[in-house]
Subunit: 405 residues, 2 copies
Amino acid sequence: MRFGLQCRRCGKQKPFEPAKTTCACGGSLQVAYDLERAGRTLRTDALHGRVHSMWRYAELLPVERSAHIVSLGEGWTPLLALEERARDLGLGALQVKCEERNPTGSFKARGASAALSVARAHGLRRIAINSNGNAASAAAAYAARAGMEAFAFLPADCPGAIVAECVQYGARTCLVDGLIHDAGRLIREGRDEQGWHFIGTLQEHGRAEGKKTMGLELAEQLGWRLPDVIVYPTGGGSGIIGMWRAFAQLRALGLIDGDLPRMVSVQAQGCAPIADAMRSGGNYVPLRGVVTSPPTGMRVPLPPDGEQLLAILRASGGTGVSVSEAEIADGARELGRCGVSASPEGAATWAGLLRLVDSGWIAPGERVVLFNTSHSGKYLPWRMEGVPCVKNYAAWRKLDQESAR
Amino acid sequence: MRFGLQCRRCGKQKPFEPAKTTCACGGSLQVAYDLERAGRTLRTDALHGRVHSMWRYAELLPVERSAHIVSLGEGWTPLLALEERARDLGLGALQVKCEERNPTGSFKARGASAALSVARAHGLRRIAINSNGNAASAAAAYAARAGMEAFAFLPADCPGAIVAECVQYGARTCLVDGLIHDAGRLIREGRDEQGWHFIGTLQEHGRAEGKKTMGLELAEQLGWRLPDVIVYPTGGGSGIIGMWRAFAQLRALGLIDGDLPRMVSVQAQGCAPIADAMRSGGNYVPLRGVVTSPPTGMRVPLPPDGEQLLAILRASGGTGVSVSEAEIADGARELGRCGVSASPEGAATWAGLLRLVDSGWIAPGERVVLFNTSHSGKYLPWRMEGVPCVKNYAAWRKLDQESAR
């Protein structure tokens, strides 16, 4: 087999299953590839003629047959050099990875493309997702492309433009009176009864593997020479987890060498469990206090694998930064003046960059990449009307049965 | 020189000037390339290694030095095959050119990239544009990227999301109490006093040349075998004019041969001067009646070169179709269920397709390409507040002077 599962704790190997994420020992399972085999075809010179999407790295994605790939042309997004800004800040290079250029306007398209491809390969045709918004609209679009049913559960204050997208792509869309983990609980409650394939963050293997392609692409676009620092807006953290895995695989394949980038998590003040833990130097502690930050992709008080995320930030020599709403607004304006449509998440990376340059943590001459993970248009202050809102699975089921009558 | 201007009527040649669009004889000037020279480097095998943007066709764009190119990674958008829908409709192939995947979410990025590059090459640093919205937000983004000043003038009922984009990219943005041509009149009134480089539809050469790349790309992506029918949503019509020019140049270069596609203009009922003229078989007559269609890119009652547009549709054996708002809404839903974020313009092409398949104008087995020219999110029913609205240049100038105080 080209790929299987391997436990991160005990090292045991198992055949691939889409939703098997925990080993008998309690450790987490992740996709392991036959890298010797992958390395025979995944060579820099062989990449030139390949498809301009994340599927150019098919050897490192958990889908056996290309007929199963569900694609809308995701990935291979521009890496935009901000030359004047780099000069102003004394950096060696400053680039923005324009993830807003993906289908459905966010990096979540990568995860959805991989997750739905895995689902198709395994005959799963009814998917459910909890999300702060963008992961759900991406899942909805890829489910539509694959002719599958999608069920999207979003926090009640999810930006209206994103709710509207889910509806437009034909997903059965419902708001949940709570935060992203409350929406996840609803799905867990109903999973068996509804036969849902749950594709929430780290609930299956496709999404993290898809997001891994951000790291593969970054390496290729930079001529296999990674930057000194990557500044990434962090919610569930699967982008960082995925990229870190990409770098490990590229190194094993001999495509990169030398130091890996220092990884920086940027979060919004009011919901910054990762940045807080990095600052305190302590272990990961889920946020139990009141969440006061607005509904963006960074608002994840209980990241499903916070320990792994912290371990990566520390192993890389990275850090965490929490920034204010005012700094985020300034960042959006600054990036806008560079021609980049920055989401609050992308704008937060600009704010984080300024902080780290000011403090000297980023040194003169260093090469920095920011990730603009989604499009600003998704966060317009507009409300989508006519979408139901429930508290839990029982309430959703009641609505569902009434509407079927 | 690699390119210059040539009169479409008298054939006279002149050196290139960005805004010289009319010959002494009254004919219109267009960019003419040294095709023999272009053909030496623009070969199918040479394209493989090139940049994944519209600038891969640099030989056919009116910019001499690559340092002048203002790029955000525009073009090289996916061509998505809708295989099930093609089967349902009895077509040989049905594909959607996903122009919503451009920077700023519309095909207008191509025109803006070329127009701003031409402006940079000629030292012009203060641009003004009238637009139904998307051309202005694109111009704003590229002006930001180039460090130039942009002035955007939009109809008062322009969708709020697009107005917000113009503001975010730092354009001086103003609504005009009227339609797109009223906004154009305002710019003409102020052009000399303000030193504006006017980049409205067909006012300079960059935009039409940039849009031409849709035709070049389509040919390359289809393996140099064009479809039987192209269905295109039409406002000012520079997309069709540009693509037709692309096909002529590709033919002259020997990159394509055989019949060219039948070009179909789709417009919205309530503002369909081109579709109406095609139906009546008569000459182009600007729409003088009341415009009742909503503010989309198709709402152009007085296209600047309606005659050329009609001549192309007729020469290609094409036609015009006007579709209702209900058909457009159905089209958006249908494309959404395929995973495509269809703007009203893209949705209109779906509606036009259904009409032409029903009537038999498109025959079983034919290969059809639809253009989804922009992203659905731009048309959310939301209003941007705080942007001034004026009637004419004098009123704008008064506001401008007051705000400078």
